[in-house]
């Protein structure tokens, strides 16, 4: 818990445009990004934000059945179209080292919440990835992307780091090529081990930017102390074209519409910056991988 005096100190500082670590309200912390650090995964990415937050994402692809459709759903028409798409299964886990900032229950809730948002965002058209390309045989077999997020260290704005790491890992993922053969109506497929391809639409995967409201102001890329001062937060998922891919209000407070719109606008602009910064990072990583330079990892 944060004391009243400290809260007052932080919020007055932000009202004056100064934050505890010397950043402006709209400035984010420096970050490091590295892809391909887990060789047992199909794709992986580590994002570490200076000041503590550390997120590791591993993607494993597997071949699975296309889900049995639940016909009692009202949107039957929409579901029919889903027989020829692959799917993405996300899970967020928090390493227990984050327990020092949050208690066990809070961590569990946070993980569930983030898992759901990730699943929702990535499995829709807003997720960027071409889910139709993940389908192997319509109606029966598809690729499943298992995206596992591991929060190694909690240092504020974890959600933004998660999305960044997921985007990086998707960029890094290589899918084995599949040859589908049809012999008198029956489909059969063969996975080719030596040929791989990148995921279609990987550059359109959104990133998230979270703004934390403190009094009449808001900050981006908050530190844990600032998060505790805040009554409500708004997470905005935005892709490289600047389109909103999802908005999520968090925390317990209430927000005026005008402030909310303002915050969303802000996040959207910031998101563009984040994506262009990320893409240059990813291009760098791509070059490094082509040059066969070993990743640094945790060394």
């Amino acid at each position: 818990m944060i004391s009243k005096v400290e809260k007052d100190y932080i919020s007055k500082g932000i009202a004056a445009g100064i934050r505890n670590d010397g950043r402006g309200p709209n400035e984010s912390r420096q970050l490091e990004l590295e892809t391909g650090i887990i060789n047992q995964a199909s794709g992986s990415c580590r994002v570490s934000v200076r000041g503590g937050t550390e997120v590791l994402v591993g993607i494993k692809v597997s071949v699975g059945d296309i889900q049995e459709l639940d016909t009692r759903d009202e949107e039957e028409e929409a579901m029919k179209n889903r027989a020829d798409v692959g799917r993405i299964v996300c899970s967020v886990e928090c390493s227990p080292s984050a327990k020092i900032v949050l208690d066990k229950r809070q961590i569990e809730e946070m993980c569930i919440l983030y898992t759901q948002i990730l699943n929702r965002t990535l499995n829709g058209p807003q997720g960027g990835l071409d889910l139709y390309k993940l389908c192997i045989i319509p109606g029966s077999v598809c690729w499943i992307l298992n995206i596992d997020v591991l929060i190694l260290n909690y240092g504020g704005s974890v959600f933004d780091a998660i999305f960044m790491a997921v985007r990086g890992a998707i960029h890094n993922t290589r899918l084995a090529k599949v040859k589908v053969e049809s012999t008198d109506g029956a489909f059969d497929f063969e996975v080719e081990d030596d040929e791989t391809e990148v995921l279609e639409g990987r550059e359109n995967v959104p990133v998230a930017v979270t703004a934390f409201q403190i009094d009449k102001n808001h900050v981006i890329d908050a530190m844990p102390l600032e998060e505790q001062c805040s009554d409500s937060s708004v997470s905005v998922m935005v892709n490289k074209h600047g389109k909103l891919c999802g908005v999520q209000k968090g925390l317990k407070g209430s927000l005026e519409t005008s402030l909310l719109i303002n915050m969303i606008q802000h996040c959207q602009n910031k998101g563009q910056e984040v994506i262009s910064a990320m893409d240059s990072f990813l291009a760098q990583e791509e070059r490094r991988i082509i040059d066969l330079v070993e990743p640094v990892g945790f060394r």
Binding site: N39, K60, S62, N146
Partner: protein, 227 residues
């Protein structure tokens, strides 16, 4: 895989090592913002250990206690085996690690609690051994007084000879696998477990090989700490 393929006629193992060679070890401390943390790589087995404490114990125990939590990332193993996590094997490992390190803690260190979190990022055999080595480094990094290092290593027996530091392929084939943890200065054995069957005549050679493995690892860990 049959046991014949594990060592080629030229005397090389599946990953190109000689029988009495350990895998490449890399370790560092002070990784995350915790009281103590370490990162260790033994070949392709990679894990992070964090230590918090010592802090005041909640229950009325006059000794110091260590809580160990062992986590396996879902992308850590070769297959997407969700059930591997949180299962009894991991529990067993954390109990083993707790027992080992409670015995090397300095006794006057009463009424305190130390939390150890182990996060396996990649597993390629010898996870328990790597976790013990990682925990040792993290405890030292946290400045917790222990009487000596504890290092651990695995050894096995195949094709009529003892082999050191098994990887996943060797571990999962029909090969006896012995895990040993000891304090390197006086060579007291703190943990020993073996799966599979092995003739008593051969046991001695496997055990002594594991011991030399522990000494090699001790040198590498000591170098990392003194850096």
């Amino acid at each position: 895989m049959s046991r014949l393929e594990l060592i080629t006629p030229e005397g090389l193992r599946v990953d190109g090592r000689r029988p009495k060679e350990t895998r490449r070890i890399y370790s560092r401390t002070d990784l995350l913002a915790a009281d103590g943390s370490s990162y260790i790589e033994m070949g392709n087995t990679k894990l992070i250990t964090t230590v918090y404490g010592p802090k005041e114990s909640k229950n009325n125990n006059s000794n110091s206690i260590i809580n160990v939590e062992f986590h396996l990332a879902s992308f850590a193993s070769g297959s997407t085996a969700k059930k591997l996590r949180n299962d009894k094997k991991l529990m067993e490992n954390s109990i083993a690690i707790r027992d080992i390190f409670e015995s090397v803690l300095i006794k006057s260190f009463g009424r305190s609690e130390i939390d150890v979190f182990i996060q396996v990022l990649q597993s390629d055999g010898g996870v328990l051994a790597a976790a013990i080595n990682g925990t040792c480094l993290a405890l030292i990094d946290a400045g917790i007084p222990i009487t000596d290092y504890v290092t651990a290593c695995t050894a096995g027996y195949c094709n009529e000879q003892a082999i050191l530091d098994l990887n996943y392929i060797e571990e999962s084939s029909e090969v006896p696998c012995l895990t040993v943890a000891l304090t390197p200065k006086n060579e007291k054995i703190l943990l020993m477990n073996m799966e599979h069957r092995l003739h008593l005549d051969n046991f001695d050679s496997v055990l002594s090989l594991a011991k030399t493995g522990c000494q090699t690892i001790y040198e590498s860990l000591d170098e990392c700490i003194r850096k």
